[in-house]
Amino acid sequence: MRKPVARTPVWVTPLAVVAGIALLVGTFLLIRWYTTPVPPPPLNVDSTQRVVATITSLPASEFDSVGKGSANNVIKPVSGTPLIGPGGHPEVFYLGADYCPYCAAERWPLIIALSRFGTFSDLKTTTSSSSDVYPNTPTFTFHGATYASQYVDFVAVETTDRDSRPLETPTAAQQALVNQYDTTGSIPFVDFANRYAFSGAMYLPDVLSGMSWQAVADALQQPDSPQAKAILGSANLITAAVCRLTADQPTSVCSSAAIQAIEKTLG
């Protein structure tokens, strides 16, 4: 007696392949979930002050040796009524948000550059969102911080915290600046007294991936580190734009060869 053997349905093999691939993709997602770094807790006041002191007291020779570094010059000349800040000085206006990884990256050079013209107080550490690209990028927030300078005024608006909860709202006048000069709506947006402006970051945040604030500060003391080339290069670009607003004051900052060379490229 010859018995027929059941034929394997035609869909079994393809279905097995698809199921295997789905299992593999699920494994990839699990690996990603397990390996995504958790955000480090914010530093206490003393540690924050140490980090800020380190990054704002870098020697001028280091800025000169880095020059533009690996930073992408995204600063564009703009025209408009000169923007004067609350202290009567040319105003540097910043719009960003704590969740935003590109803002996280750009705050480092902003703090370093503006600290060459004045002093920040009450900066606090934070990280960008855990669920956005470049998660948990270490940074500071301008929310609650103050800035004093005899050369420029700095006005910052952080719209949300790292979990996208509302923090600050731009005034109508600030929103008008954003609408006029930041036509793509990208953040961070920085307006240098309506003479120069840029939006976006000057380097990719992945250069800070997995680093602590102290580790970044340490890396900035090494001019050849990728962090120094990106952050100090960006800081030099910002410094050059600010020097244009202050008629190259103070000369100890603005007369350096690196800043003068960058100023010539700003247009």
Binding site: K3, P4, V5, R7, T13, V18, I21, R32, T36, V133
Partner: protein, 133 residues
Amino acid sequence: MLAMLASVAGLAISVYLTVVHYSTIIPMACPASAVVNCELVLSSRYAVIGDSGLPTAAAGIVWFAVSAALGLLRFRRALLAWSSIGLVTVLFLVYVEIVQLGAVCLWCTAAHAMVLLIFLVALPRPEGDRVSS
């Protein structure tokens, strides 16, 4: 026939991604969120072949063109071998997207789906009814 259609679709996607890579005018038509972000994936170091500067999508053009030829000539075994290589490459690229970059490129995923479809079509069909004594 299905393998041919998938090859042509994959070829079109690869050509588009290659053109976008070199163009400064043609925009990337793709949302940019935390999970779906073509820009992030296609500006990563994995989007080019080694140090050559050639976009990975250019390799896709070659791969889909060969697939289309093998499908047209009905070289079934060759297509199975070729699509196996393609599928392994796709699995590596999916690993890179999910684990290394944490973002997925929609256009790349569409091309990956075409590779999978070609592989499934090239799989050997089960033999007809057999008998045993």
